[in-house]
């Protein structure tokens, strides 16, 4: 074992690859957030002690009076600070990698984590193009959200704890994407789940929030089951679990479409479905909005929930070898996208809309990676990280403001219900603009980021449907149609959100309205940066066809298929397999027409939806939540999210609980323990009966004596 201190010195690892490029302190990127966690955690524990004393005394501890307590000032610097450093270090490495023309991943291993028999799992990290993209997103967006949180959370008594969790989350997320083997990834995988749990239940005194955290954790664990089983199966096949070993041999070991590889990938899919909130395990994500809004932005939109997509892309070779699993991935993705979009149509809670929107967009990503467009999946992951983080942060700013207003007008209305908002445009112009940019991006309108990424996914689905040897071609055609429809729905519900929130009449009431305000600087600057990224972020991967058409300004857009080329070393094996087995992809959509044509159609259609929706809804007078009528018909079903939660309660949770009770009360207590006690009691009962023979009368005794003699004589005599 190498001592932990060497982590920073990048000593040559146990199985380090000999690459031309030397990364700069890669371990430190992981370690910095952990350090932040340690410091903030210590501060949090100290603060919690004080606040606990206060609670016992029947009041809240005032961390803010007479100047902030050190526990509440230090995290402001430590929390975002470590992220900034990590981000900068990532950038340095990114730049280094850009110049290195790397084809093999760079592996640094620090100590052997689990060594037994022929199993050897090293505590190793892997730097390659994919993990680098992810690291950039995680540390970059993460940093912005940390900064935003400073403004958003700074009056919360749990401020240091919040940053401790957030840092810990970044740590685990980095472990997830940087790990060089599946078990290491699994550490991050479960670690982020833990942080998600802690952060959703951040305000744990609220039972609903605490329950939401618990739900997230348990549902995620169902997925984790798949992850573990996939690891086991891979180990069974390869006797090793690191990426390098598996991916290198995968093509030669597995039969294309064979049962083993299909099983492995389906297990991975289960994991991904759990983490990325796909049908049927999507139920936890909307509830996860119980956490602080920046958390929703960071974890439940930008990073953690996309881990499933990362997993599929990371295992792209495996998925490419399993066409059935890929088709299932795509199918789940598109169904989830459509399903979530329908639910989002009728939600009134701003964060719920965004939550379902996230689920829907994750569905798109799954569709992308399912049809073999791994780059497109990662591309959408990235652009989504920008605009969805922005949307959540914007929503956070809005909620912050509305809360303030409602507080001052003494209304106990729901600060997240869009029916209680309206007309915020006037009060929060920056937020308004930023969010409109993000809405256009998510709606897939040219030239915003979302257009390029989503368009590529849809296009690739169409192309897959027409591929030479495509299995399930008809299925892919259906996917394509559904994906297009979903894109339109997206445009609709996002516009609805914007209109209800920012346009029309303000519904907080006159007293409240006075207190509506624009977000402070720490909050709107991240918004601005993310808005910029939402606008231009899509330009890094414009397909050649688009780039050379009108949509690319006839080649004026910079960068072209940069991301595609960047990720090529990671995905090339998968593409090789695909090409070998699927043949050439189609150059026209199922209904005919090329990429450019469909790009134009979709952007125009989406724009039309936006405009029409804005127009129609803008005129309607929205009643405030308390006065609104109960929805009816389909609307009611959608509002109640297709009753999926109810279904699970009725058919999964309740039966399990009932069974558990039966097992305890009847099987355990009555039957098993009953049998144990019965043995004891029966023994004593027999003893008691036996003692009754002891009548005290000599005749009886003599009789039994004689009986004994008779039996013995009979036994021995015969």
């Amino acid at each position: 074992m190498r001592p932990f201190g060497l982590l920073l010195l990048q000593a040559p690892g146990l199985e380090d690859s000999q690459a031309a490029w030397e990364p700069v302190l890669p371990g430190l990127i992981i370690l910095l957030p952990l350090l932040g966690f340690a410091i903030n955690g210590a501060l949090a524990l100290a603060a919690a002690r004080k606040s606990a004393d206060a609670v016992r005394a029947g009041r809240e501890f005032d961390f803010f009076g007479n100047g902030r307590a050190v526990t509440h000032t230090l995290p402001t610097w430590v929390g975002p600070g470590v992220l900034l450093l990590a981000f900068l270090l990532t950038v340095v490495n990114f730049v280094g990698m850009l110049g290195a023309e790397l084809h093999e991943p760079v592996i640094r291993s620090y100590w052997s984590w689990i060594t037994t028999g022929d199993l050897n799992i090293a505590a190793a990290i892997q730097l390659d193009q994919l993990s680098m993209v992810m690291m950039m997103i995680i540390t970059g967006v993460g940093f912005l959200i940390h900064v935003f949180s400073v403004g958003y959370m700074q009056n919360d008594p749990g401020y240091p704890r919040y940053f401790a969790y957030l840092n810990l989350f970044i740590f685990f997320m980095l472990v997830l994407v940087m790990g060089a083997s599946y078990p290491i990834m699994f550490i991050g995988w479960e670690g982020v789940g833990l942080c998600s749990y802690l952060l959703i239940g951040f305000w744990f005194s609220d039972e609903e929030k605490a329950s939401a955290g618990k739900k997230a954790f348990i549902v995620n664990r169902i997925g984790d089951l798949g992850f573990l089983l996939a690891i086991f199966l891979l180990y069974l096949v390869f006797q090793r679990v690191d990426y390098a070993g598996i991916f290198g041999d995968a093509e030669s070991v597995f039969v294309y479409g064979g049962p083993v590889i299909t099983t492995v990938t389906l297990f991975f899919l289960l994991a991904a479905v759990g983490k990325s909130a796909q049908i049927p395990l999507h139920i936890w994500l909307p509830d996860a909005m119980a956490g602080p809004t920046p958390v929703s932005a960071l974890i439940h939109a930008a990073t953690m929930v996309t881990a499933g997509v990362y997993l599929v892309v990371r295992s792209s070779v495996l998925f490419a070898l399993a066409p059935l699993s890929s088709a299932v991935v795509a199918g789940i993705g598109v169904l989830t996208a459509l399903f979530a979009a329908t639910v989002a149509l009728r939600q009134q809670d701003i964060k719920k809309v965004l939550a379902y929107s996230t689920v829907s967009q994750l569905g798109f990503m799954f569709l992308g990676v399912g049809v073999g467009a791994y780059t497109a999946g990662i591309f959408h992951l990235m652009t989504h990280a920008f605009f969805k983080a922005l949307l959540f942060l914007g929503a956070g700013a809005v909620i912050h403001s509305i809360q303030h207003a409602l507080h001052h007008s003494n209304k106990d209305w729901d600060a997240q219900d869009m029916r209680n908002m309206g007309g915020l445009r006037a009060y929060m112009p920056i937020t308004w603009i930023a969010m409109w940019l993000a809405t256009l991006a998510i709606a897939g309108i040219w030239p915003f980021a979302g257009f390029f990424s989503k368009d590529e996914i849809i296009w690739m689905t169409g192309a897959m449907a027409g591929a030479e040897n495509a299995p399930y071609a008809g299925l892919y055609t259906v996917y394509w149609v559904l994906a297009l429809a979903t894109a339109m729905l997206t445009a609709f519900y996002m516009t609805r959100l914007m209109v209800m929130t920012f346009h029309g009449r303000n519904r907080t009431g006159a007293t409240g309205a006075e207190h509506l305000h624009e977000a402070p600087k720490t909050m709107w600057i991240p918004l601005a940066i993310l808005a910029t990224l939402s606008v231009f972020g899509g330009w890094i991967n414009v397909t050649t066809d688009l780039r050379e058409s009108v949509l690319g300004g006839f080649g004026a857009l910079p960068m072209g298929e940069w991301l595609h080329h960047w990720l090529e070393p990671v995905t090339e094996a998968a593409h090789r397999v695909q090409e070998a087995h699927l043949g050439e992809l189609a150059h026209a959509a199922p209904l005919g027409g090329g990429e450019v044509a469909w790009g134009l159609i979709s952007t125009v259609a989406a724009l039309a939806v936006v405009l029409v929706t804005a127009r129609l809804l803008g005129r309607k007078e929205v009643p405030v939540a308390v006065e609104d009528a109960e929805p009816t018909g389909l609307s009611r079903i959608l509002f109640n999210k297709w009753y999926v939660d109810e279904f699970y309660h009725r058919w999964v949770v309740d039966p399990v609980l009932t069974t558990s009770r039966v097992l305890w009360r009847i099987v355990d207590t009555r039957i098993i323990d009953g049998a144990v006690n019965l043995v004891g009691n029966a023994a004593r009962a027999i003893g008691w009966l036996g003692s009754l023979l002891q009548t005290g009368q000599v005749n009886t005794y003599a009789f039994f004596f004689t009986l004994g003699v008779l039996v013995i004589l009979a036994m021995i005599g015969f």
Binding site: N699, F703, T706, L707, V709, L710, L713, A714, G717
Partner: protein, 173 residues
Amino acid sequence: MPEILFFIFAAVAVGGAVGVVVSRSPVASLLFMVATLASTAGIFVLLEAHFLAAIQILVYAGAIMVLFLFVIMLLNLGHDYQRDIRGNVAMIIGFAVTGGIGGLLARQLGGGTAGLETNLGAGDAIDAALREYGAVGAIARPLFTDYVVAFELTGLLLLVAIVGAIALAKKAS
């Protein structure tokens, strides 16, 4: 002739035994017992155990039974004509069990000993001893030679019995 005598004695002995068990009065039981002992003594004679027959009458029937009689009188049980035999159920069960034992014994001793007599030498063993030492001497010799330890132990046994009887029966101080 000895066979006839044997069966007469046997009949009296069994009858006496039954009488002991079924008599109402303890005194009657006692008398039946004496009858049994006496006829057994008769059988002893037939079996060439003359000395034993004598002390059977003297010690057993004479001394021990009188001791019983004393006790019965002492405790004033002589006029106690209450039937102290257990009820029918106990009687039947008891009869079944003892009958079973009796049956097994009869089967084993009666049927099973066929030929034993000739095997063992048809009474030669005792005849020789009697011829040589006489009825008393035949027993007395081994008693003071081979069985001297047993004989001494009998002394100790009697001492124990005396001490015990006195310790129990004497009036509490």
